[in-house]
């Protein structure tokens, strides 16, 4: 089985570039240059230096003793929560801003849901002295005020998306519209492994540093690079793509993607795309999509603003269809309980997105010998309000 993108931008049946002609030159410019630029030794040098000295990579692979005891397995946490700005998102924004500079772009736009990708984009724009505009659903701006102010402090203009339900999907629509209207001087930094080809592949490459490090770190720690399980939450799927990437062809490594079930997969208030979605086209790619029988996109729900996207990246749709990745889901309650559990057992308050990955541990049939790596994609600072409102601690 092949898990790499093909020359037309497809992962099996999913992917491609389903875009109106007005976006074609922008996307085509990127498609024809991204690999060549990313492979330049000088690009790689700058990218890795920034990841090391600015982001704080490699992030630790931490053996969670008390959690291991509790689940009766060897559990390691890949500490993406320790990245500068608090999540894995910055691995991608560093890569894309370096690419944008080399393409001669002067302005950056991005979409954001919870605000993590927006903050990571605002951060690299400040770092590079580039003008930045972030679209954010008006509702999300109200829900995630601290991140809105963080972006503003960093000098970014935060633009409320007032169309649709005023959340992540609508912010993405607005960013795409802005890009249509500004085809030459602007680069659009998409925040996950979604969008038209080459975005899913490009973002995967930038995030693949996660599994590259896990391999080296495990080799040192247990004498071999491969665990029995790698577990990651899936919104659009960028942290999962990064954590899975170097294991895709290691058939003995079980890969587990955890989606947000919201109030329950069948409750009507959910974001579990593989359980509820069908193949469709949104935001430039063919992928699994939550939609009505008439092909209208359904607004997903999760307590975690970073997981309530109605689709998943085309790579994940392919990994689901081929069975390479096992997809499970965790409800709001399960995730919140898992977040509190991690805080109490390991002294780490996770992002609620990442808490979904922790919640999956109880759903796996682990044995005493199993080595499990959980990708802890972000820290819980941004979610303090939600933890407080949840209250059960």
């Amino acid at each position: 089985m092949r898990y790499e993108v093909d020359e037309k931008g497809y992962y099996g049946n999913f992917g491609g570039a389903y875009i109106p002609e007005m976006l074609y030159p922008n996307v085509e410019e990127l498609r024809t240059h991204y690999l060549e630029i990313i492979q330049q030794p000088e690009f790689q040098k700058e990218f890795h230096e920034l990841l090391q000295n600015y982001v704080g990579r490699p992030t630790p692979l931490y053996r969670a003793e008390r959690l291991s005891e509790k689940y009766n397995a060897h559990i390691y946490l890949k500490r993406e929560d320790l990245c500068h700005t608090g999540a894995h998102k910055i691995n991608n924004t560093i890569g894309q801003i370096l690419l944008a500079k080399r393409l001669g772009k002067q302005k950056i736009i991005a979409e954001t849901g919870a605000g993590q990708h927006g903050v990571a984009t605002a951060t690299v724009c400040a770092l590079m002295g580039m003008e930045c505009m972030v679209y954010m659903g008006k509702l999300d701006m109200e829900r995630q005020r601290p991140n809105v102010e963080r972006m503003r402090i960093l000098g970014t203009q935060v633009v409320p998306a007032v169309s649709g339900n005023m959340t992540l999907k609508d912010a993405t629509n607005e960013a795409m519209r802005h890009w249509i209207n500004h085809p030459t001087d602007t680069h659009y930094i998409i925040g996950s492994v979604v969008g038209p080809h080459p975005y899913p592949h490009m973002v995967t490459l930038f995030q693949s540093v996660i599994s590259e490090e896990i391999k080296k770190q495990l080799l040192k720690e247990i004498g071999q690079p491969n665990p029995d399980y790698v577990v990651a939450c899936v919104g659009g799927g960028s942290n999962a793509a990064g954590a899975f990437y170097h294991y895709l062809n290691e058939a003995h490594v079980n890969l587990v993607g955890v989606e947000a079930a919201g109030l329950g997969v069948d409750s009507g208030e959910s974001a579990a795309t593989t359980a509820l979605g069908k193949p469709g086209v949104l935001h430039g790619s063919k992928t699994l999509l939550m939609q009505t029988t008439d092909g209208q996109v359904i607004e997903p729900y999760s307590i975690s603003a970073g997981l309530d996207y109605p689709g998943i990246g085309p790579l994940h749709a392919h990994l689901f269809e081929t069975g390479r990745v096992q997809f499970v889901s965790a409800t709001d309650d399960e995730a919140m309980n898992a977040g509190i559990e991690l805080a109490r057992t390991e002294g780490i308050i996770p992002a609620i997105e990442s808490a979904h990955a922790i919640a999956a541990l109880s759903k796996l049939e682990l044995t005493q010998e199993d080595v499990v790596v959980v990708n802890l994609s972000g820290r819980g600072d941004k979610d303090l309000e939600t933890y407080i409102r949840w209250g059960k601690y």
Binding site: P20, E21, L282, D294, Q296
Partner: protein
């Protein structure tokens, strides 16, 4: 039978006015009423938009009409039924325009067949990639459906020729690198782009759309292309309408005659 679009564009000496409106807007069953009023008022062709929840190529006006149409309950199946009903009541070509996902869920082949059966003459699917269309081309050709693709000011000549080759009926020349919506007057760069298109002597006639909102922009588009496509400003005109026939008549007259 000849395709009505090809017929229209090969016969007429005067430029063509094509009007875009969203199916199911302002009210669910206005599709037929609007079509008849447009033909009566002097429009030459209609493009009926299939509403979608996420119209990324559209500005605020058409976003609004899409949302309202969906709230009203418009679907692909219902639209095809409405078109079948109105087909015998107007002579002009009927084009359906829509984002890919609703069409994909309906089923591509079923959609092409049902559209042709309903009396649809042409299709515009802006986010359908050219090479994805290739596999459907024999079917749409056999159904006598024209399929028009978009070009924009940033489309290269090589690509314009490729798009022209695969399109039938007409090529849709988007006037600016922009989403849909009225923008005021055309700039000299836009006029130069229209002129460039004209000089290519494409296989298909081209119609200019996006940003046409008054007599000046309408007549400029007609001076370069085979005609003009108007959408957002028409939708604005009918969105608050208390008398569709009268307002549509007034719209067409004011768009096509100098003051």
């Amino acid at each position: 039978m000849k395709n009505r679009i090809t017929e229209l564009l090969s016969k007429t000496k005067k430029p063509v006015l094509s009007v875009f409106y969203t199916a199911g807007f302002p009210n669910l069953d206005d599709t037929e009423k609007i079509a008849i009023a447009l033909e009566t008022a002097g429009a030459d062709m209609i493009e009926i938009g299939i509403p979608f929840s996420d119209p990324v190529a559209d500005g605020p006006t058409i976003q609004m009409s899409n949302k309202k149409a969906l709230d009203n309950g418009m679907t692909v199946a219902l639209l095809l039924k409405q078109v079948a009903g109105l087909r015998s009541k107007v002579k002009m070509p009927i084009v359906l325009m829509g984002y890919l996902n609703p069409v994909m869920q309906y089923g591509f082949e079923k959609f092409f067949k049902d559209a042709a059966n309903a009396g649809v003459d042409g299709l515009i699917l802006p986010d359908l990639p050219l090479d994805e269309f290739e596999k459907f081309e024999p079917l749409t050709t056999s159904l006598n459906l024209s399929v028009s693709f978009l070009i924009s000011p940033t489309t290269s000549e090589t690509r314009i020729r490729k798009i022209d080759a695969i399109s039938s009926g007409f090529v849709y020349a988007v006037s600016a690198s922009s989403t849909t919506g009225a923008k005021g007057e055309f700039t000299t760069e836009q006029l130069a782009y229209f002129n460039r298109l004209k000089s290519y002597n494409l296989k298909n006639p081209f119609l200019i759309g996006f940003g046409i909102s008054n007599y000046t922009t309408y007549s400029q588009a007609c001076a370069y292309g085979a005609g003009a496509i108007v959408g957002s400003s028409f939708i604005q005109q009918i969105s608050e309408s208390k008398n569709l026939e009268a307002d549509i008549h007034q719209f067409v007259v004011s768009l096509t005659t100098s003051k």
